[in-house]
Subunit: 488 residues, 2 copies
């Protein structure tokens, strides 16, 4: 894998000059004619041996391509807001839009490489991290992000010689970091770690390319060629199933049909119970322990099932400084230019905070499925992607609770009519609501499959009978209060 690079090949000036001219034109043309028209993002991941000239290459790419459409994303250790979110959050956060190029420096490979470079690497950690990366990259690739990963490599001898050459002159010595100087001492360990990482994460849709880096011209030419090949790739790559955490065959249970829709709470019980539950929620949300956790509440349900009312009963108990409601409607152009989950990653809460979603990422397997807004291949893989997303939230300290507020068709009809007649509710009812109602069975099937495939321990679904609004609101509050009290 590294054999060619460790032979430290080089290009003569005579070989490089015409190559350079040709590559620069080709890169610019590809950037303009392919990438922007192809409606995809190019992500170039930079990794490799320290002191192999990665920084210089990032500058070079900015020089050879049109820098206005390149975003250099450079990451150091996680800190501040990023520490309170899943590790991938900051990469999602900064993901450049379609038509542009991101060069990622200090990427999601850094922790994996650090682990693999240790004297006694933890194999389980390596496997788990590599699997998470494969899922991440497969999802990006499937959603129009073309990924190419460059591993800059050179022999131990060349690495040492390069550092010494740069150090010798006061004009270039600043290019050598203390890390570079240490590299040749543990060259073998870093090299072997690179091999492990490349073996675990190489794929057709997100390939690793080893760049011989001892000679600057060779490094430049090979980098340009690798980037060019990625830009010239057409369409969305085929993701082999092994790279996607795919949905296992499961028996879809008719949970909607099995629900007891007669459950009721009378007014007096409701008033006293509501106050008590809100009091408990208020205390839990203000507790010291919650300051190291966060809460993600997902509200789904048929139209007019009472999501808004339930949400307001929850927020009534909360300090307004603490929560954030994100109502999901049509995506903005910045959202449309990124993979589907990006718009939800934008709203992942910090510790001590509560994010409430009035409709959510489940739109992918509900409305987008039923209304055929996305291809079946997309919503089919979404179950696993959503489980993965919520798993990351849970692992970073979020309590993820999901509510499906379920009503029967007759109760929905009653509420629709009531809304149409109410002067301050008629904005809530549109022609679309009536159209959705006609597809009741399709939505029910999609809902049952969703409940089956995404009801996971770290992010449970609570199916709530909502024909009686009071009963539903208390159920929602009770689930939240109990989950918080148990976990905090």
């Amino acid at each position: 894998m590294f054999a060619e690079a460790e032979a430290d090949p080089s290009l003569s000036k005579e070989e490089f000059k015409p190559l350079e001219a040709r590559l620069r034109v080709a890169l610019l043309n590809a950037q303009y004619q392919r990438l922007q028209k192809a409606d995809k993002t190019l992500l170039i991941v930079i990794a490799g041996i320290d002191g192999a000239g990665k920084g210089a290459t990032v500058n070079l790419l900015n020089e050879w391509m049109d820098p206005r459409h390149i975003k250099t994303l450079a990451y150091g250790p996680r800190e501040g807001a990023a520490l309170e979110r899943p590790p991938f959050w900051r990469y999602w956060h900064d993901l450049p839009p379609k038509g542009s190029t991101g060069i990622v420096f200090g990427s999601w490979y850094t922790p994996l490489l650090q682990e693999a470079t240790r004297k006694k690497p933890d194999q389980n950690s390596i496997e788990a991290q590599a699997a998470a990366i494969r899922r991440f990259e497969a999802m990006l690739a499937a959603e129009g992000v073309q990924i190419v990963k460059l591993w800059f490599h050179l022999s131990a001898k060349a690495q040492k010689a390069r550092a010494e050459r740069l150090l010798a002159s006061p004009e270039t010595s600043w290019q050598v970091s203390p890390v570079d100087l240490k590299v040749y001492k543990k060259y073998d360990r870093i090299r072997n770690a690179g091999q492990v990482v490349l073996n675990h994460t190489d794929s057709g849709h997100a390939p690793w390319v080893v760049i011989p880096s001892a000679d600057g011209d060779m490094r430049a030419a090979r980098t340009a060629e690798a980037v060019l090949a990625a830009m010239r790739q057409r369409g969305v790559p085929r993701i082999p199933p092994a790279f996607v955490a795919h949905a296992s065959p499961m028996r879809v249970v008719d949970r909607l049909g099995e629900l007891d829709y007669d459950a009721k709470t009378d007014k007096d019980d409701y008033e006293s119970e509501l106050g008590l539950l809100q009091g408990r929620l208020a205390r839990a949300a203000r507790s010291k322990k919650f300051q190291d956790r966060s809460l993600v509440l997902v509200f789904e349900g048929q139209d007019a099932a009472g999501k808004g009312g339930a949400i307001r009963r929850v927020t009534h108990a909360l300090d307004a400084r603490q929560f954030d409601i994100t109502p999901i409607s049509a995506p903005t152009s910045e959202e449309l230019a990124r993979p589907y989950l990006w718009r939800f990653w934008r709203h992942v809460p910090r510790h001590g905070r509560i994010a409430i979603f009035d409709r959510s990422w489940y739109g992918r397997v509900l409305v987008e499925r039923v209304e055929k807004l996305t291809a079946p291949v997309n919503w089919r893989r979404a179950y696993a992607e959503i489980n993965d997303f919520e798993g990351q939230l849970a692992a970073s300290g979020a309590l993820v609770l999901k509510f499906w507020l379920a009503v029967t068709p007759d109760v929905q009809l009653e509420r629709f009519k009531e809304r149409e007649e109410s002067p301050f509710k008629n904005f809530k009812i549109t022609a679309e609501d009536w159209r959705n109602r006609d597809k009741w069975k399709d939505y029910a099937a999609a809902t049952n499959e969703m409940l089956t495939r995404t009801d996971v321990a770290h992010a449970p679904w609570h199916l709530v009978s909502a024909n009686d609004k009071r009963y539903a609101r208390l159920q929602v509050l009770r689930h939240i209060v109990e989950a918080m009290e148990n976990q905090l």
Copy 2:
């Protein structure tokens, strides 16, 4: 000002019921028919006596209006990333788009109120903070943000009674915070502080409305009425000049004309000098002191003046993890939905980081002025707004350096032709460049006025003779290096 509110007026149930029904319909109608069509943002600022029911009112507004178009923005003390930016940064950052409503809780008034509530308030600090707020609100108002500020008020007696009533029941006691309990002890001080703040910051375009808050129904009705009045306001309010830090009459000097365009550096001097300057820049940017500062570099100049080349000579000395180039082109839809400066506030760097703008907010007084893309009233007030923006950056620890790379028409023509002939530069030259060239004199006049009005000590312009690229690059580097070495 507070007399009516301190009489603690109330509404009977009979008065409130029909009023509520009417107000809810009116609010929804206004939200749909006025606000969204009027292409503006509504900002509702929440302040007042603690324990006056501000939190409940925020919930109520979410209940009465369509919450999908309301963003509750709640701020606590500044922390993390916000601490490394100007105080207003987080309010800019979260500004909701046009067509929506933001309710601001813990707003830019918090520090001012805290100061005014102290036993011995610092009058200078109060004046300075109030002036900064006036400039901020005037700018927002002028750019399509309708602001209404609500001061929730009640008598000391009523405040105490309300806290005791809530405390008495376990179901509501959580609504009372320790702060609320202390309020009645220093009621007079808080009340007087409110008076000072309201007097300093009340204006036609961002009015304060005092909401009598002892009675929940009265509070609800008055809040709804105030919000309604704001939503019904048509068009952009007239900002009295006193509220805008307006441009003083200045003699516009022909600095472009006075520049020595023959300045040159020969190749040998260039190579050695470049390396030395890059070395000094590298050391300065990596120094410990820079970790508490940031650097904002603005590059402007005629087309083909060599901005890109100069930027690359700067970034060559920097660690890619440290800098971020923002090339300014057409704004996105999310940017167009906010005030002009929002898209630049998005890129204000953290400490230890360098933000490079390839073109910048000066587009407002250059291309937008010359090409008549904005009304004269907008670019005329932009000088003061820009000075204010950069002043805030400087005050928060940023070193702001601005470069105008100046070429003569004949040199530009040469470079245009050369670009057209170069296979890897011809993408850089468009019909627009030729059109801009025809307006050389208009651009020169706009540039000279910009240099005169915005060359301030905290953010100096460096007018760089750029007919010789080598000379220009060294000048840019030298200015940056010297500024950093002086300031760090």
